[in-house]
């Protein structure tokens, strides 16, 4: 299977997201066709600043993907996912803005014609992963962290506030699941960089909740979620739960080594919990 992949700005530099995604996709025969010369998606902030500019940033990828012959764009970041979907929704519903965006892109010799379907990498991996029947990791209760933008506002992947698709995925690939109440709680998102003191308690609440419900590891589907949960623990007092990417757990389940999956980059080490002889 070949998919049109939009990595977004933090994919390659995050703690093993790229390594694990590449390794797992190789194993599952998924070819990631990266959009050439991709640009910033504008994240969530640009829409408030300049709607047309925000739309044009997303729509540029829509044209590039179409030129590559795809009608779907896959991304592994919740913010990219939400931003691209928001643009796709607006451009499908508002013919006026569609025309304006089309006019902007024309300056760059790009012709906006079709709006692709936006999908999250999780959907692709979840579909492709076989059921893992070994009990190698059954003793590791994992808490899934969805972040705020994967299931909201769009609630078509799962329930908005209390989703369960990642838990089902974890069960399928041989991990134990910790049910908890922080699945979509706010981690501070990009504010964690500038407003550290305000955001640290938010993260502490999330990891504290997971810890108190018995989790031994956390898994995320987004680079910023991973970063916030990981780095705030490594600096503060505990509870030191390793914060993995779902692709890293998928890789382990498929028998790949932690090194191949870039897990040595995690700030809170996963070695104790996830290393198997």
């Amino acid at each position: 299977m070949k998919i049109c992949f939009y990595p977004g700005c933090s994919f390659a530099s995050s703690a093993g997201y790229k390594e694990s995604t590449d390794a797992v996709c190789r194993k599952l025969d998924i070819e990631l066709a990266e959009i050439p010369d991709w640009n910033c998606c504008g994240a969530t902030v640009l829409f408030g600043e300049n709607k047309l500019r925000a739309l044009a940033l997303s729509a540029r990828h829509f044209v590039l993907a179409e030129t590559m012959g795809f009608d779907e764009i896959v991304t592994g970041c919740n913010a990219c996912y939400a931003t691209l979907r928001k643009s796709a929704d607006i451009l499908s519903e508002d013919p006026g803005l569609f025309q304006q965006t089309k006019d902007v892109l024309k300056i760059f010799d790009l012709d906006l014609v079709a709006i692709p379907r936006i999908r999250h990498l999780f959907e692709i991996i979840d579909q492709a992963m076989p059921e893992i029947t070994t009990d190698k990791y059954r003793d590791v209760p994992v808490a899934a962290y969805y972040g705020c933008q994967l299931t909201r506002p769009h609630q078509d992947l799962d329930k908005g506030d209390h989703p369960s698709m990642v838990e089902k995925f974890l069960e399928k690939i041989g991990f134990a699941v910790t049910e908890h109440s922080a699945k979509t709680a706010c981690c501070g998102a990009s504010h964690a960089v500038i407003h550290k003191d305000e955001c640290r308690p938010l993260v502490q609440r999330i990891v504290g909740e997971m810890d108190s419900k018995g989790a031994k590891a956390i898994t995320t589907v987004c680079p910023l979620c991973q970063f916030n949960l990981d780095q705030n623990q490594s600096k503060d007092a505990g509870p030191y739960l390793p914060v993995t990417y779902f692709t890293q757990l998928a890789g382990l389940a498929l028998g790949l080594s932690p090194k191949e999956l870039g897990m040595d980059k995690l700030l809170v080490s996963a070695a104790k919990v996830l290393t198997r002889p």
Binding site: K159, D161, H162, S181, G208, E209, S212
Partner: protein, 656 residues
């Protein structure tokens, strides 16, 4: 006076005090129409609907020999009847009248005075042009059945039944549950007086049961409705109870012996269990159990049990019962189908269904009720008494994503809860509200009283209910997250129990009842009354009336008042012994009808039959509502609606 006579029209332009006159230049309107063909006289007057106004018309008819009248004033829904009666008094057929609505359609809705006047001129001259073609029409009197059928046996239906029966009318009361009583039977106390609901409810239930004028159909549904105002024929389906009502003594032995004991009790909102053979609650009326055919070992699972039959001393158990149908005649129908509570499960961030200590208000009513699962002890699922309780207002109500409307009762019952919790447990109570709505008699006083008792009120919609805690000592408790919009601070309040004050939705099956009776519903599913202010219990369907929450959320006092009103309206309609049918109905010209039957399918009131001998469609004049669907559908122009002929409508349009 016949239509062949040369028309002599009187036109009267009303000032309606200050409603029409200053905006619309009435003198100009009079000038505009007075020289139109056939107009004999045109005048303006301050209040045409007043006695002097009507007398002016009557006098002109007599003295000037008018044979047509136009009044340019308000909506025909307001005063058409008034002026038609004036014509009748003067000896003129009332249908020689046309009304131009220059108030709702001109003065009230037009900013510019000149524009409003032009509009009024057009409307008035259109009416003049139309009235020329009016024909005299006759109404008929139809005998009525002096009985009333009531759908729904909650407090609304029961009260309507008692009032109707008191007036000597035969009442058929149809309730789909095994017992009458509805939601009110589930309540413990009622606001703001804190009367014991059972104390004021159960005697009424017994009254209904014992009243010789009331025939009670419980565990029954309305299956089919035929006929028309004064002469409805209603088929009631009586679901099998599998217990012979004539033999059962209500001893309760069957329920004691039933081995299937762990079925969630609907009456107790799933907080207690019942057996497969059961009465919903101990004071059920009638006190005859039903067997739940899904969970019964014999009926549902095909097993040999029959414990109930074995121990029944009066041989009342009958596993072979089938549904029975009975057709009754009723002159009027009162719909009292009530409401259902909003299910908060769809609001993910309130955690209902996930956290055991999050209750709906109906669940809490049971928890607080002496006959409820805890015998009225206000305790959590672990048996402990809560120390702090949060009450969340407007759950499902006043929310663009769920129900936009205010459910009207939640503020008051929430404060009732607060008072009762405080009184019974001493727990701290927090009310999270958007606005407090306490507009009933002694309601505001109750609000003040609860505030004085120390209940904390936070103005802010609750954002989240979670078991995530910041402080380890709160582990196991719930945290309510909300913004106090008065202090602009975010609150995280640890509590032991949360009550979601859920709003009201139309009862399940209301859509079906609406279809059967031809009563329309609004966008939210509540039944439409005929007029929001002046006909709040009647419906556009003649002879069908509304009582209680089926028409919109209401508290008990309003429900009881409306029920008495509905009964009163029904009685007023039936007491004469006959009803007058409307004259503006469809007429199918047998000479033009090709017998294609298109109109029969188009008629929403089943008012068109087919004459197999002449091969033409025939209108049942008693059923026809004059909607005009047949006239619009008829390919050969055989169908037309009296008083809405092509000539009349074209005449009107020419001047607009």
């Amino acid at each position: 006076m016949t239509s062949q006579m040369k028309p002599r029209i009187g036109v009267y332009v009303c000032h309606c005090g200050m409603n029409i006159a200053p905006k619309v230049n009435v003198e100009e309107v009079v000038d505009h129409v007075k020289d139109m063909p056939h107009v004999a006289v045109a005048r303006d007057y301050k209040f045409m609907c007043s006695n002097p106004g009507q007398d002016m018309i009557i006098k002109d008819i007599k003295e000037l020999g008018l044979n047509r009248v136009v009044v340019a004033s308000c909506s025909p829904r307001m005063h058409e009847k008034t002026f038609r009666n004036a014509l009748r008094t003067a000896g003129l057929n009332p249908y020689y009248f046309q009304m131009a609505n220059v108030r709702e359609q001109a003065s009230w809705v037009t900013k510019d005075s000149i524009e409003a006047t032009e509009k009024a001129k057009a409307l008035a001259s259109a009416a003049v042009s139309r009235v020329v073609f009016h024909q005299p029409l006759l109404t008929r009197e139809v005998q009525v059945e002096k009985s009333i059928l009531i759908v729904g046996g909650g407090i609304a239906g029961m009260q309507a039944a008692l009032t109707s029966a008191q007036a000597g009318y035969k009442v058929y009361l149809v309730e789909r549950e095994p017992s009458i009583g509805g939601h009110m039977a589930k309540f413990d106390k009622t606001f703001p007086t804190l009367d014991c609901a059972a104390c004021i409810m159960t005697p009424k239930m017994v009254d209904v049961y014992q009243n010789p004028n009331i025939e009670l159909f419980t565990y029954s549904e309305v299956e089919k409705v035929e006929g028309f105002i004064g002469n409805f024929e209603v088929t009631v389906k009586m679901n099998p109870r599998y217990v012979d009502m004539t033999k059962c003594t209500g001893c309760g032995m069957c329920m004691e012996k039933c081995p299937t004991k762990k079925i969630k009790s609907e009456f107790n909102e799933g907080l207690a269990n019942r057996t497969a053979i059961y009465t919903p609650f101990p004071q059920a009326v009638p006190n005859v159990p039903v067997i739940d055919p899904v969970n019964c070992l014999v009926l549902g699972k095909g097993k040999k049990c029959g414990a109930c039959a074995k121990f029944c001393e009066s041989n009342a158990i009958d596993f072979d019962q089938k549904p029975e149908y009975k057709t009754v005649k009723a002159g009027a129908i009162i719909v009292a189908t009530g409401f259902k509570a909003f299910n908060p499960g769809s609001i993910g961030y309130y955690g209902y269904g996930r956290y055991p200590e999050v209750y709906t208000s109906l669940e809490f009513e049971r928890l607080n009720n002496a006959t409820g699962p805890t015998s009225g002890k206000m305790v959590m699922k672990n048996g402990q008494v809560p120390k702090r309780v949060a009450i969340v207002h407007c759950v499902g109500s006043r929310d663009q994503r769920y129900k936009k409307y205010c459910s009207r009762v939640c503020c008051m019952y929430s404060m009732k809860f607060a008072h009762l919790i405080h009184e019974k447990t001493g727990a701290e109570v927090w009310e999270f509200y958007i606005d407090i709505r306490s507009p009933g008699k002694n309601y505001e006083e109750f609000y003040n009283r609860v505030q004085e008792e120390g209940v904390r009120f936070v103005r802010g919609r609750v954002a989240e209910i979670t078991d995530m805690t910041d402080d380890p000592k709160d582990k196991g408790r719930l945290t309510v997250v909300a913004e106090n919009t008065l202090t602009r601070r975010t609150l995280r309040i640890p509590v032991d129990m949360v009550i979601l004050s859920v709003g009201m939705e139309p009862a399940l099956g209301a859509d079906n009842i609406g279809r059967l009776l031809g009563v329309s519903r609004d966008a939210d599913g509540w039944f439409n009354e005929l007029h929001a202010k002046l006909a709040p219990v009647a419906t556009p369907m003649n002879g069908v009336f509304l009582a209680g929450c089926c028409q919109g959320p209401k508290d008990i006092p309003d429900t009881v008042a409306q029920s008495m009103g509905a009964a009163g309206e029904a009685i007023a309609m039936l007491s004469k012994g006959f009803v007058t049918t409307q004259a503006e109905i469809s007429f199918i010209d047998p000479d033009l009808c090709t017998g294609c039957k298109s109109c029969i399918g188009a008629c929403a009131y089943s008012a068109i039959g087919f004459d197999d001998v002449r091969k033409v469609a025939v209108v049942n004049e008693a059923l026809c509502m004059g909607c005009g669907s047949c006239a619009a559908t008829c390919p050969s122009s055989a169908a037309s609606v009296r008083h809405f002929s092509d000539r009349q409508i074209m005449g009107e349009l020419e001047m607009l």
